[in-house]
Symmetry: C2
Subunit: 529 residues, 2 copies
Amino acid sequence: MDSATQASMNGAESLVRTLLDSGVDTCFANPGTSEMHFVAALDRITGADGRGMRCVLGLFEGAVSGMADGYARMAEKPAATLLHCGPGMANALANMHNARRARTPMVNIVGDHATYHRAHDAPLTSDVEGAARPFSDWVQGGTSSRSIAADGAAAVQAARTPPGQVATLVLPANTAWEQADGPAPPLPVPARAMPAPAGIETAARLLRDAGAQAVLLLAGPAVATDAGQRAALRIATATGCKLIAQGSNARFARGQGRVPIERVPYVIDIALGTLKGFRVAVLAGMKAPVGFFAYPGKPGLMLPPGCATHELARIEQDVVGGLEALAEALGAARDVKLPDPGPRPEVPRTAAVSPEALAMTLAALLPEGAIVADESVSFGRGFFPNTHAAAPHDWLQVTGGAIGCGLPLAAGAAIACPDRKVVCLEADGSAMYTLQALWTMARERSDVCVTILSNRKYQILLGELAGVGANPGRTALDMMDLSNPDLDWPTIARGMGVEGARATSIAEYADLFGAAMARRGPFLIELVI
Amino acid sequence: MDSATQASMNGAESLVRTLLDSGVDTCFANPGTSEMHFVAALDRITGADGRGMRCVLGLFEGAVSGMADGYARMAEKPAATLLHCGPGMANALANMHNARRARTPMVNIVGDHATYHRAHDAPLTSDVEGAARPFSDWVQGGTSSRSIAADGAAAVQAARTPPGQVATLVLPANTAWEQADGPAPPLPVPARAMPAPAGIETAARLLRDAGAQAVLLLAGPAVATDAGQRAALRIATATGCKLIAQGSNARFARGQGRVPIERVPYVIDIALGTLKGFRVAVLAGMKAPVGFFAYPGKPGLMLPPGCATHELARIEQDVVGGLEALAEALGAARDVKLPDPGPRPEVPRTAAVSPEALAMTLAALLPEGAIVADESVSFGRGFFPNTHAAAPHDWLQVTGGAIGCGLPLAAGAAIACPDRKVVCLEADGSAMYTLQALWTMARERSDVCVTILSNRKYQILLGELAGVGANPGRTALDMMDLSNPDLDWPTIARGMGVEGARATSIAEYADLFGAAMARRGPFLIELVI
């Protein structure tokens, strides 16, 4: 503590100190009036280690919550967000939804009116807790400056409880400015529990019996960690089962030295084809895969009828431990040879712009340890097969289907890992949702290379329109058309302090991307596709 | 109906037809997969008058709901919005909050998963109705394609019920694509009820007794219409009472020929000073004024202790009729002379950039019939006194305190009134929230001149920080600083297809603004303040 002593702390100071002592040392913020005491406390309060809260400003709350998501996926601990009243929090909800689906730990501090002011129904009054609930795992409304520190400790505990939760604490202004009794001690976080041995035995029996007719479906730490992937590979090698990851993953360890694992495809008919013929599915950290949407006359469940499913480990359990125990139960060899992904591709300089050519270019040029934040939507569905041979990297996906996640994910990951190159693959339509993150990248001098995949339409919707059997006319097509006028991404980026350029061929793109890999700081490439 | 006949309609078609027949003919949209049948229906369905739905695309849902607000404030009827699932609607909530506080009629159509798909908990699944409720006056979840048309008619009825409501209808995908029984007839909308005669008599007695110690507080139609303002002026002339409008108004008729009415000030100490000494307050369409926020040691209610309050008309009642009845009860003269606002100001070309100089410039150059969409926040608090003598215009304010409203309000107003010049006064920090509206202005060739008031900080928060007695350090100040890097607004606008330029003096600004008034189409001026 700098100038504030425990005896004279206000609620905001007690909360900041509690967050720091609980291991939350980074705050993504877009504050308003009701958060002014919290903001003022940031300069006065340090943790037991003498270090204060790192604050990162976002110029829109959707950028703020998305950055907190990207940060936590890479830092493996929660950040705080600081948001202003119900409408400010509402702007953050879509990326809170994505974070919740990613099982990201997150602590949202939402300032609100003083408790005694709510009855006046001032213009900004709203039901903050009610609005938070559909997009949070844990919600609490602060009631007093004397208990707000304990509320904060409980919020961090909730956020860190496996598999990771979105915790939202409402901070009425008077609970921030009135007198506190000092910080609250950190609360214990439950460990991930091992799955029951009987379930591991069942999985072993099912996989042994079904062999190549079995699929081991992987999610969470099973794909995010080398240990999880290695255990899965041991199981596949021992039994002949197929390994498939869920469609969207919070974090996926990929590239050379990792197990090349495909995902459940997004397009329903392709997914049904991929999963056809399996009679056993063992689930490691996920539920049986379902269609992203329902389509007339098509099934909602993607596994074939009659396929037996067995849950090896729930997402909040020790998924990696469960896989390792299963490998042991199967007597699987400990040393397994990784499938050879082949040589690192060359840049296909003369190829037309296509998902495959772009993926090969990325695989050729990605530096070791890169973090890929991927919101490439329809264009990016085929990126995985051609990037298995890239240098080792981590790949972050949009997990909840709420677009506007990619740019903030990248910005947040860069805060968490300042020594790693971040590569953002971003569809133009989605980029527009939270383009404010570009400004934060410029301010923080984040080492992020953004590629805008510019098709100037909501391409995914044209596919979906066909998928639901609808027959579009001019008005309908206009609703999916982002041209007229074209968005000029290098210019938009420059307006927010980020340099950029446009590429219309793979050769141009490779030159720009290669140069961006060789320098530090944010850069944007609009690739016209 | 074009190609679809009533017998073969699906739910989406029945809903579009019902909206049209109920008078909703404009839809602001940011659709996704679950809305594809609704989108497809737009080209197939026309109303009884043979005209179809006008659709306006926004590249972010916050722009969509804000445009629907601006449209309805000027068109005096609801638009529909089309939004995608819980997270897409979440992006629209902040401006739904503003619309609700403005008493704007609005019909939100929120596509969602097919009813039978929800149990699968697919990635985009959320509690849409739960999330809508804090920011809607009416929420309903569609359950069947056979009843969705009736749900739509009920939504329009709810939206049009005085004083105007935000109605949100959830449209599960299968209720859109399954068979319907045809459209539903429009439902009756209740008229505004006259306030009870006894209350009018009471108001007359109170005002007569208190004379200049009384204030008549005005909101809603009392300030939006010439009739309301004239009646209020008759009352003030007859009794000597003061006229003051609420702080933020959905629509305010202003300029030459209108009654120059000041508003309750935003800053608490100034507001307390303005209202000091009144012993009677008569309320026409509003509640007793309260502080926008609570401040330590300051009151939440702005009228002085002991001031008698009397509600002449509630906002959902016939406020103008109540004022006219009160004027009659007072025997007020029907012909009253408008206070002379003085001559239209000249542009103060050599003055330093200040709120007063900017207001005089606007007053000098605003064309007759202009619509001002005002989200000028701290800089704009003094605009009213110097614009009373401008040409007649309508002024739209941010009503719910959720920033990111101004640009969409302007874009929506321009759709409603294509023959009127729209002038948007927009603070730089607020502009960043929904800057996507610029693209819609470019696409629709909207006749909007945007002025970005560029102070490169959250100026209001610096004031609020002082207001709550907090003492900021470097980290706190960084959270209010929008420089490093500076936002380059003409460049950002150009990237979205809107021409722009920067002014650093009143003379430069006046030249640019004057030129923008003389041409059609969107233009942006960044005024460095």
